[in-house]
């Protein structure tokens, strides 16, 4: 057996073609006869649609067709998981529009420019209706209703029984209202689809190229919604320029483009512009959390009460359910908490429908808990690190089942925290902070800590994997996950190379094509290595077992004596002359009528729970409100690390997005529902120039739930960094009496808070939540929405 490649920094084999401009993104696809679709979108957040006149557009130069909802007759639908069955969305608006950007008509033309010109001539007659943008205002009696038949804007919600008082033993209760702002997902590549109708000669009547995280799920949904034969539709996902949770399910535009391509009998492509992307792609986050945390005299947590108003956007976007599902599941975090009550309402607003964004409900839990812990440390007069230490779940308590029903598989939270403190030199940072405060320095130093745990590969995780060894000695991997930047081609090939001794450059990787891979769950929820990787690993193990039998027979040895040799053959252990190449083994297998291959459906008995500790250091200019990140130390534990370079990359990207939510990003609407940040000049995505160097490292606490010992790493960086950076900013201001600011911590907010602090007029960080929450049905009285179990 050669030395294992696992755990080493193997360069990503998928990068050269991306870096040299050979990406196969949907927009790069060239098919003869391709036509181009453009949507006419609502400029109003809430309005009756009286008429849509496409007659001029239909006759415009180059136009092949123009359609309204009445022409296409597509039923209202749910494109991913369902929050409220009554809030189905018509793919083209019928009767009403419910958010700015909702499509009302589609134009297809010979060129994208001709389609865009024709779209200008579509005349839509609207009667504006009052809109509701703020989810708390949506709960007020008399608020404009999005679906009148529901009788309220509550898409779903529950409250816990009041039989236990979380604060009965508390000597102190800390209370915080915290808004977790709506953000846009902003992948480099927006949504994109190209639909090619016609027999491909292999039994498919329709071939769909689509930028998605879940090609098999996309095919199944599309076929269900359009009543197509599943076997007659081939879905191919080429290179994808980022998903981050937003490319799950079938978008309204996908349904419309597929329908009109079939009607025209011509290939039709739609590639979202950035302006469309900012309003059409589901947004993420968007919660208002009311958190109360009780402490006893020893500063140990006695109980917690959380009440959440979750913004679902228009049509009850599935993201609204994340507060019902994953946020609630992870509300207990890394702490021993004896009692928890959790009430939640998912609310309809006249804004872009909510979906998932990197972390999908878990960052919200970590953010409100870790921010409240820092507030508590401030109020109790205890160092925030010490307060956490007193309440962390101890390493000998795993597996640990929480009050919310999560079974944490493994963990050592204090070890991650200790490592972060040591790397950052926490005590020295506190001394420097004190020095600046003593000197009245107008550039304040802030230190923020967050300890988090999250959940990956939930939802009965299962995945397909297959390994074939060919008669030339090479191998092919097929897997049902769908990498779009995560490095599976490298990581999964490393697994096969490790098991079989076949070199990386002789391993082919196939994914994301329903004609090539029979089934798959795609990539989301940081699931891929633990389920897809282990499926591939098990398939390789089965191939190896078969190879050993073949070799034993050929070499007249006992199977037990057969192993993979140092030079990548299969033979008798310790006898280099008695070994057979993989090519020969594949030939032997083929001649026996049973090729050397194995297919596996791997399932994991439960989700895994990655964790970590982040420490962020910022400077805040008290005269301008500017925040400058100085350092960010991340210690993330994703179980056993397979490729440290891939893990570091995931940490860096995640930290950047989490830091960005803390400091920059916010999707803002005016009171009428007009988006004010719908391009990248107004929506402040940061660049490398704004960030600091990131100090990413790991602890490794293997998961007992899969042979690789792996947990997910895709979202950890985001989950740990957001509260750490946020806490750092507030920490920098705490000596002025400032105890909380909602994200993003902008110069304007800091300026106003510093002013208010100087004037002694800081607002309270608490107020009672909307009364509607106390009228929600009790948990268990109504069925749980399907989308609460979204695993993305």
């Amino acid at each position: 057996m050669p030395g294992s490649i696992l755990g080493t920094r193997v360069l990503r084999i998928e990068d050269p073609e991306l870096l040299t401009g050979h990406g196969t993104f949907v927009g790069n696809l060239r098919v003869p006869g391709m036509a181009y679709a453009t949507f006419v979108r609502s400029p109003l957040a809430h309005a009756l649609v009286n008429s849509v006149d496409i007659s001029r557009a239909s006759r415009a130069p180059g136009v092949l067709g123009a359609w309204t909802a009445a022409d296409l007759q597509l039923e209202p639908y749910h494109g991913f998981m369902v929050l409220n069955p009554a809030c189905g969305r018509p793919p083209l608006a019928t009767g009403k529009v419910r958010f700015v950007g909702e499509p009302v008509a589609v134009i297809v033309a010979e060129t994208a420019a001709a389609a865009a010109d024709a779209a200008e001539s579509v005349e839509v007659d609207y009667t504006p209706l009052p809109a509701v943008v703020d989810p708390e205002e949506a709960l007020v009696a008399g608020a404009p209703l999005q679906f009148e038949e529901l009788g309220s804007n509550i898409a779903a919600g529950f409250r816990d029984r009041e039989d236990v008082d979380p604060f009965a033993r508390a000597s102190r209760v800390v209370r915080l209202r915290i808004a977790n702002q709506r953000v846009a997902v902003v992948p480099l590549e927006g949504n994109a689809i190209a639909v090619v109708p016609g027999d491909d000669g292999a039994g498919h009547l329709l071939t769909v190229y689509v930028s998605t995280q879940m090609p098999h799920g996309f095919r199944d949904n599309l076929c269900r919604l359009l009543n197509l034969d599943r076997d007659a539709v081939r879905v191919i996902t080429p290179h994808v320029g980022g998903g981050f949770g937003a490319k799950a399910g079938v978008m309204a535009e996908h349904l419309v483009v597929t329908t009109v391509a079939n009607r025209l009998g011509r290939p039709v492509m739609w590639v979202e512009t950035r302006s469309e992307n900012m309003v059409a792609m589901p947004h993420g986050r968007g919660q208002i959390d009311y958190v109360e945390l009780g402490f006893d005299e020893q500063a140990k947590i006695t109980g917690m009460r959380v009440r959440v108003v979750s913004d679902a956007g228009a049509y009850a976007g599935f993201g609204g359910a994340l507060a019902i599902g994953p946020t609630r599941l992870m509300a207990q975090g890394v702490y021993r908490i004896p009692t928890i009550r959790y009430d939640v309402a998912a609310v309809l607003t006249n804004t872009t429908p909510m979906g998932a964004f990197r972390g999908a409900g878990r960052p919200e839990a970590a953010e409100f808990l870790e921010r409240t812990m820092d507030l508590a440390a401030d109020e109790l007069g205890i160092d925030p690190v010490e307060l956490r230490r007193r309440n962390l779940i101890a390493p000998d308590e795993f597996p640990f089942t929480t009050l919310m029903g999560a079974r944490y598989d493994s963990g050592d939270y204090e070890r991650a925290l200790d490592k972060a403190l040591q790397i950052a030199d926490y005590d020295a940072l506190r001394r420097e902070q004190e020095r600046r405060r003593r000197n009245g320095d107008r550039v304040a130093l802030g230190i923020g800590v967050a300890v988090y745990v999250e959940v990956t590969a939930g939802g009965g995780a299962k995945e397909f994997g297959r390994v074939d060894v060919h008669e030339d000695g090479s191998a092919t991997i097929r897997v049902g996950t769908s990498a779009h930047g995560q490095g599976h081609a490298t990581s999964f090939a490393m697994i096969v190379a490790d098991r079989l001794g076949i070199p990386l450059n002789a391993i082919r990787f196939i994914q994301s094509d329903t004609a090539e891979v029979p089934r798959g769950g795609g990539t989301g929820g940081s699931r891929s290595l633990q389920v897809g990787g282990n499926a591939v690993r098990q398939a390789a193990e089965e191939v190896l077992a078969r190879a050993k039998e073949l070799a034993a027979e050929e070499l007249e040895a006992s199977t037990a004596d057969i192993t993979v040799t140092e030079d990548g053959r299969v033979g008798v252990a310790g006898v280099p002359s008695r070994a057979i190449s993989w090519a020969r083994l594949a030939q032997l297998a083929a001649s026996s009528g049973n090729p050397l291959a194995a297919s596996v459906d791997f399932s994991q008995e439960g989700p895994t729970f990655p964790f970590g500790a982040h420490l962020s250091v910022v400077e805040v200019d008290l005269d301008t409100g500017a925040v400058r990140p100085l350092r960010h130390v991340a210690v993330d534990d994703c179980g056993r690390v397979l490729n440290p370079m891939v893990v570091t990359g995931q940490q860096h990207g995640g930290i950047a997005q989490g830091m960005s939510q803390a400091l920059w990003e916010h999707m803002v609407y005016d009171e009428s529902g007009n988006p004010l940040t719908s391009n990248l000049a107004d929506y402040p995505m940061p660049s490398a120039a704004e960030l600091c160097s990131l100090e990413a490292s790991n602890t490794e606490t293997p998961s007992p739930l899969n042979p690789l010992g792996a947990k997910g790493i895709g979202e950890s960086g985001t989950i740990g960094s957001t509260p750490a950076v946020h806490n750092a900013v507030i920490d920098a201001l705490s000596h002025l009496g400032i105890r909380h600011l909602d994200m993003p911590c902008t110069p304007l907010k800091i300026f106003e808070a510093v002013r208010a602090a100087e004037a002694g007029s800081l607002p309270s960080v608490w107020r009672e939540p909307p009364a509607a929450l106390s009228q929600l049905p009790l948990r268990g009285e109504r069925p749980r929405p399907e989308a609460a179990d979204a695993d993305i």
């Binding site: 994208a112 000049a681 660049s687």
Partner: protein, 273 residues
């Protein structure tokens, strides 16, 4: 993200450009670096029927020492101005400000003439030219005229240029003394939320502000206070006097006034005033 249809004319000389402007009238727009105009066209907020591309008129790209002043061709790109040895040694403020515009792509395409004629109050170079007390040279069918920078910015995104005139040259006095540009942004590539430019030209101290009103403007109250012998800190307190800055997502008018004072104080200190 696709502009409305337009005609495209490419000219090789200044005279051709003026002729084209005369021919096409107010429907025509000059295209220099395109970094202000093209985004507006892609959003269909600007729909000129003719674009006159003056990119090939390389005779308008230069920085020369003209004795008592430095003359800059209107088509000089920000990157070139930032690195030009005459600019760096004779008018280092302008060179430094050019290096703080947008990002490298913008600086390699955008031109000083385009930036000034776009007259965006949030742009960097207009304030620098105002602080320096520059003069703008325009040419039209009736010949050439000089416009003081103070008289050039006539309204929001409006300049004193006639529709058939082309800005050809920017003249700024040599200013090798202390100078500073305090640019307040949330991201390096952004337009300034507020900016404050300080230039020492001989005995005079010029101060101009970015994004503090409908046009690029001078902080006249600050300049006057300094001329009357006030300390830099006292003068900076008057930075927002009489100004009506905009309110937006990034800043309220009140915050902008505060920033103008803070940034002007810092800029004056940095410039050694």
């Amino acid at each position: 993200m696709i502009p409305a249809p337009f005609d495209y004319v490419r000219v090789g000389s200044l005279d051709e450009a003026i002729s084209a402007l005369v021919e096409h009238g107010e429907d025509a727009k000059l295209l220099a670096g395109g970094h202000s105009l093209l985004p507006l066209m892609k959003l269909r907020l600007a729909t000129p029927s003719v674009l006159i591309d003056i990119g090939p008129v390389r005779e308008l790209s230069y920085v020369v020492d003209a004795g008592d002043h430095v003359a800059i061709g209107a088509l000089t790109r920000h990157h070139d101005l930032h690195h030009d040895p005459v600019a760096v040694s004779q008018v280092p403020l302008l060179s430094m400000v050019a290096g703080k515009i947008g990002d490298p792509q913008v600086r390699h395409r955008g031109t000083i003439g385009g930036s000034l004629t776009h007259a965006d109050p949030a742009s960097d170079l207009p304030a620098a030219v105002l602080a320096l007390g520059g003069t703008l040279v325009a040419r039209g069918p009736a010949g050439e005229r000089q416009i003081p920078a103070d008289a050039f910015f006539s309204g929001f995104l409006e300049s004193a240029l006639a529709p058939d005139e082309v800005l050809t040259e920017i003249r700024v006095p040599k200013a090798v003394g202390g100078h500073a540009y305090q640019k307040f942004v949330r991201r390096a590539q952004d337009w300034a939320i507020v900016g404050s430019v300080v230039a020492r030209v001989g005995d005079r101290v010029g101060v101009a502000l970015v994004n503090m009103g409908p046009t690029p403007l001078r902080a006249l109250a600050v300049e006057q206070a300094l001329a009357e012998g006030a300390s830099a800190a006292e003068a900076a307190e008057r930075a927002a006097e009489g100004l009506e800055p905009p309110s937006d997502n990034n800043a309220t008018a009140e915050f902008r006034r505060h920033l103008a004072r803070v940034l002007t104080r810092r800029a004056l200190a940095e410039a050694g005033v």
